[in-house]
């Protein structure tokens, strides 16, 4: 536990000592800020129209702003995750610092979890910017905080799974670009798998659709914790980290 934290802290300071973290945070803040501004604008226009017509639509900040924005975040996150994980092991392998970690009295799993945790924390920092935007809703509106909290939980779980996959891919190469590109490919695949739901009757389509990380986010976006979705994400996290551990072990036999 202590070692995990030492590794995690070191990784975080690496992220924040280089431009990586700031670049990601800035880009994410801009993109999300645009989404927020956009959907807030629609919401305001819709509510003004409603007032002018004197009709009573049901307007909900949660349903009309927070939920679509969380869904957007879950997709935008797919693009950021490769950039977070690509360096985790690839860089250590290239510079040889992996030898330091592997010859220190630390278990492989402590190294892996430490690195993965640091990636998750960086992702959580990205989410802080979304929270900053949502804070305005709480200041001027009256949204329910519980679905939002569940949404964040879902985002973290989803990112946890993808980050674990990215961590695994990063152990396979010493080239960060390859690690990043491969992770990006996998993330995209796991997103677009959800598009086959049109062929719902076929078994293969059902399987692919089930594998998509985005479909499993729907329930969280609604503010519902579905155990099957939570278990799906937890399984992905476990498998990702498990394969990372196996890969580190085989690295020793091969290298």
């Amino acid at each position: 536990m202590r070692n995990t934290w030492i590794i995690c802290r070191k990784e975080l300071s690496s992220y924040f000592a280089s431009p990586v973290a700031y670049l990601l945070l800035t880009m994410f803040a801009l993109i999300f800020g645009f989404f927020f501004w956009n959907s807030l604008g629609y919401f305001v226009i819709a509510s003004m129209e409603m007032q002018m017509r004197g009709q009573a639509f049901s307007m909900s900040v949660n349903e009309q702003i927070i939920r679509p924005l969380l869904a957007n975040t879950s997709v935008v996150g797919l693009f950021f995750i490769p950039m977070i994980t690509m360096r985790l092991f690839a860089e250590e392998k290239r510079t040889g610092t992996i030898e330091l970690l592997a010859t220190s009295p630390v278990r492989d799993i402590e190294i892996i979890v430490g690195k993965w945790l640091s990636a998750l924390i960086l992702y959580a920092c990205l989410l802080l910017f979304t929270a900053l935007n949502f804070a305005f809703l709480f200041r001027y509106g009256n949204p329910d905080w519980k679905p939002l909290a569940v949404g964040y939980l879902g985002l973290l779980l989803q990112a946890g799974g993808l980050l674990a996959i990215g961590t695994f891919i990063s152990t396979l190469t010493r080239n960060q670009i390859i690690a990043g590109a491969a992770t990006f490919g996998v993330c995209l695949m796991l997103w677009i798998f959800s598009w086959v739901s049109g062929y719902d009757s076929a078994t293969w389509a059902a399987v692919l659709s089930y594998m998509s990380v985005v479909t499993h986010f729907d329930s969280f976006g609604k503010g519902v914790i579905e155990s099957k979705d939570a278990i799906f994400y937890l399984t992905v996290i476990f498998l990702g980290l498990f394969f990372t551990a196996r890969s580190m072990e085989s690295m020793r036999w091969r290298s």
Binding site: S14, T95, E99, L100, W253
Partner: protein
């Protein structure tokens, strides 16, 4: 302190280390000598638990590298060939990170960081980013991280590679200083380095141990033939090289004379003789009494290549040397030789 038995490690198509056996007593400095690609790094990586051996066993401080890697790692300080540094970290930050990784914390960690900073003379660059340091400083920081947890065993892979002569000397002094408290294995392909720092040498070639011996024995074994280098100058006018050559040949014990270099008024000669058959004084007297000046007279040091050729049987004259009882064949009698205490 370290016992290695029949250690073997293969890669996909090659055997990098083949049935290597040796042992190292506590407090010794052992040089791991061999050309590039001989299997030095692979052996060291197995000792540090970075690579698992394909077969054979190695124990460090009584712990097996396969069975109890964590215990072994606690007792080993390792400096790989390229210092394992994070360029974006500052020196002290890095040392604190490594220290805590090795299990230090609190005031212990503070003390050890202060100690290694002083010991390895990196105080000037305490706050600097490692990526901005010169090769010499990086090497020292690498050494500092290796000794930060005061390990019983230090494993240094080519610790002086790429340093300038002054830094090389400093590093060697530091390593010699560290012996006693620590058992040290260092690898190198530079013979003088072994002569200067180590008490014990393990020569490795193509994955096999070809000799394990003390430095003195190794040198004398290499020198059953002795080569002397002389520089002779004339007092006035050109030098009569042929006459000098003749005179040198007449000295008792000299079996061959060759001219290495010829200048206007001076020349460099080499004489060969069997070990102990030649009195150096005779050489000097002959030159001086004939009216020439003797600028220099020294034994030619044996290069690693020569010793190497001898030990690996590349040179016909060496076959006999290898067959001598003093020359340990791989796999036998090494452990006992290695355990002999040396001053």
């Amino acid at each position: 302190m370290i016992t290695v038995k029949d250690l073997t490690r293969g890669y996909a198509h090659t055997v990098a280390v083949n049935q290597v056996s040796f042992s190292v007593a506590k407090g010794q400095i052992v040089g791991f000598l061999g050309p590039n690609g001989a299997g030095k790094t692979t052996t060291m990586r197995m000792l540090t638990c970075f690579l698992p051996p394909s077969s054979g066993t190695a124990t460090v401080a009584g712990f097996d590298v396969l069975e109890q890697p964590l215990e072994v790692k606690k007792r080993i300080g390792y400096l790989p060939e390229t210092p394992p540094i994070y360029p974006e970290m500052a020196t002290v930050e890095y040392l604190r990170f490594v220290g805590s990784l090795k299990g230090l914390s609190g005031t212990d960690l503070d003390k050890r960081v202060d100690y290694v900073v002083g010991r390895c003379s990196v105080a000037d660059v305490k706050k600097k980013l490692l990526g901005k340091l010169s090769k010499g400083y990086r090497q020292r920081v690498g050494l500092a991280q290796a000794i930060i947890h005061n390990p019983d065993v230090l494993i240094l892979d080519e610790p002086t590679a790429g340093l300038d002569p002054k830094q090389i000397n400093e590093t060697r002094d530091l390593i010699k200083d560290l012996a006693g408290d620590h058992t040290i294995i260092l690898s190198t392909h530079i013979l003088p380095e072994v002569e200067q720092t180590c008490q014990q040498v393990i020569i490795i070639n193509k994955g096999r141990v070809v000799a394990t011996d003390s430095v003195e024995n190794l040198q004398s074994r290499g020198r059953n033939a002795e080569t002397m280098v002389l520089e002779v100058a004339s007092r006035s006018g050109p030098l009569e090289v042929a006459r000098i050559e003749q005179r040198l040949k007449q000295v008792a014990g000299v079996s061959r004379v060759s001219i290495k270099n010829k200048y206007d008024s001076r020349a460099v000669f080499e004489t060969e003789s069997l070990m102990g058959e030649l009195k150096r004084g005779d050489l000097a007297r002959v030159i001086v009494e004939s009216g020439w000046d003797l600028n220099e007279l020294r034994p030619a040091s044996m290069s690693l290549e020569e010793i190497f050729l001898q030990l690996t049987g590349g040179d016909p004259a060496a076959q006999t040397a290898e067959a001598k009882p003093g020359a340990a064949a791989p796999g036998q009698g090494e452990s006992s030789a290695a355990e002999e205490p040396h001053a």
